[in-house]
Amino acid sequence: MAIGGLTTNALLYLDNVSVTFDGFRALNALSLSIDAQEMRAIIGPNGAGKTTMMDVITGKTRPNQGVAVFEASHDLTKLDEASIAELGIGRKFQTPTVFEMHTVEDNILLALKTDRRPFPTLFSKRTKAEKERIDALLERVRLTGSRDRKAGELSHGQKQWLEIGMLLAQEPKLLLVDEPAAGMTDQETADTADLLREIAKTASVVVVEHDMVFVRDLGVKVTCLHEGSVLAEGSLDAVSTNERVVEVYLGR
């Protein structure tokens, strides 16, 4: 399959993507490729374009130029958020975003992979299979005990996990995770890293993170962004000794 004259086997393929806001170049000819079941960590200073990149992948922002292809056949620049989500791309925001007024269980229920059209949703009844799936997911994100609580009442860390649980309920092929360790205790951070590694066994995961300890914990290939394009790519050790990276990001 080829879109924009490119042939690729990668799950996600970005090439030469640029985004401009009122003259400010948020992404500048960014190219990136993620393979199936790969986990990738993305680092970079503030304003490097990490969140904008996720916006482009999930259809929230349309690039001014460039190619964004999923599974070699879906042009992400032409689809809206809901279609992209249905293709199997899930996204976790920087600050945990859950449905605060719904119970933990309902949060998972709403995220389950089902028919998303209004009328089937109106008439849908929860099946036994769905219930089992919810139970399993709650167990996995360690929220079984809080299933009837309102999501808004959860602690910060629990909300992060609930959001990850919701992503899993979508059964995505690619997960975009924005700063999952922010505001977590050391123990929670370690647990989160475990969880993500486990998820990466079945799906590709892209993690945006500032916490170098956490990134080291993940032990995966790292891409460093700067001013909207890739500055360096490789193992964490390789990237963190790259002179340019040290200069703009890690500091001397």
Partner: protein, 381 residues
């Protein structure tokens, strides 16, 4: 388990009260002697009927505002369109009994020298057709408007203001005599509905009962919608719209379904309102009317359905009473009521009642007021 009960305590009480009204008020009015203290006087019946029609409008508004987060400042337009559809049927029923005795043309057309019935009046001599239009016209308008607006992701105050512009434009249009809807005078002096004289006390009682049933019916329908999974999605959209999108829900479709349904309910409310008050005219489209409807919902308690209906009933009863007993001061009373309600009762009357009696409505759907609204002033990005 977190399944919402289809009917909770407040809902049961509400249904019981409305259905009891449907039965007892017509019975008391028609059967009891006028000097009995239980007798509901003749003039009260259409008045109560009007309140119930307004309650239904408030219910429809609460569905979009309380549950879907769409603050429509133009719901009066759908109400009025439903009312006009009914009014057109009632006009055709006058037949040759108008002052000019023209069997086809309504009076206002005769004295403006119209010679033929305009095409959009055709069919309105049939009750079923009018009934269909009562639902279809507001529904179609809401669908077209919503399709455009939700697809373009017009949200928040932008949406509120264009709904207001919509109803304002319709008001100006209906004021035009050239439109063929009677201009400023609107449609009035109705005679029969389905062969029964609208002025007869029996017809009035029947219309009242019908309105009560319609209110109960729309309550059940709304309740069914908000307790379904679609209802949960809609609340999810209200609280975190982009999260819902990234999960894969097509937000615009959900909004469109709820908005259109709400417009249809408002249309039915308007159709029931017209024969009871005896007139429909373009001032029903006035933006102030739509804002008032929003206020009923807020006074009663947003996102509770029951509260919306209760708010409509209370505010309108208050208005009737104040305009009678304090004719030159009533705006102070009404204005003061709105200010005090907002300041002292952020969750409306229903919130007050549940707080006072300490009812924990665990199964109730979340009311949106307190922590739901993010603590930033929405339009000031």
């Amino acid at each position: 388990m977190s399944r919402y009960r289809f009917l909770d305590g407040a809902g049961m009480i509400f249904l019981a009260v409305v259905l009891a009204m449907a039965a007892l008020i017509p019975a008391s009015n028609l059967l009891l002697p006028p000097d009995s203290w239980l007798h509901v006087p003749d003039h009260m019946v259409p008045l109560l009927g009007k309140y119930l029609a307004f309650a239904m409008l408030a219910l429809a508004l609460d569905l979009v505002w309380g549950y879907c987060g769409i603050l429509s400042l133009g719901h009066g337009a759908f109400f009025a369109l439903g009312g006009y559809a009914m009014g057109m049927y009632l006009m055709r029923q006058i037949g040759p009994r108008g002052v000019y005795g023209n069997p086809v043309l309504p009076d206002f057309m005769v004295f403006l020298n119209w010679t033929e019935l305009p095409w959009f009046w055709l069919g309105f001599d049939h009750f079923w057709f009018a009934l269909l239009m009562v639902v279809l016209v507001p529904g179609a308008l809401a669908f077209c408007f919503g399709w455009l607006a939700f697809r373009s992701r017009v949200t928040g105050v932008y949406l509120s203001i264009i709904t207001q512009a919509l109803t304002f434009a319709l008001m100006l249009a209906f004021f035009r005599n050239d439109m063929g809807f009677g201009g400023n005078n609107g449609l009035t002096d109705f005679k029969d509905i389905l062969g029964f004289p609208v002025q007869a006390q029996g017809t009035r009682a029947a219309l009242f009962a019908l309105t009560a049933f319609a209110l109960a019916g729309s309550y059940l329908l709304s309740r069914w919608v908000v307790t379904s999974k679609l209802g949960k999605v809609v609340v999810a959209i209200r609280d975190a719209e982009s999260r819902s999108r990234f999960i894969g829900y097509r937000v615009e479709h959900y909004k469109l379904v709820v908005f259109t349904l709400s417009a249809m309910l408002a249309g039915i409310a308007g159709a029931l309102y017209v024969p009871q008050v005896g007139i429909i005219n373009p001032s029903e489209f006035a933006p102030a009317n739509s804002i008032e409807a929003v206020i009923w919902v807020a006074v009663g308690g947003r996102g509770t359905l029951v509260g919306a209906a209760l708010g409509a009933f209370l505010v309108n009863a208050g208005k009737t009473w104040f305009t009678g007993v304090l004719p030159s001061m009533w705006l102070f009373a009404l204005g003061g009521l709105f200010v005090l309600t907002t300041l002292l009762l952020p969750k409306g009357v229903v919130g007050l009642i549940t707080d006072l009696f300490g009812i924990r409505r665990k199964s109730e759907l979340p009311a949106p007021t307190a922590p739901a609204a993010p603590a930033k002033a929405a339009p000031a990005e």
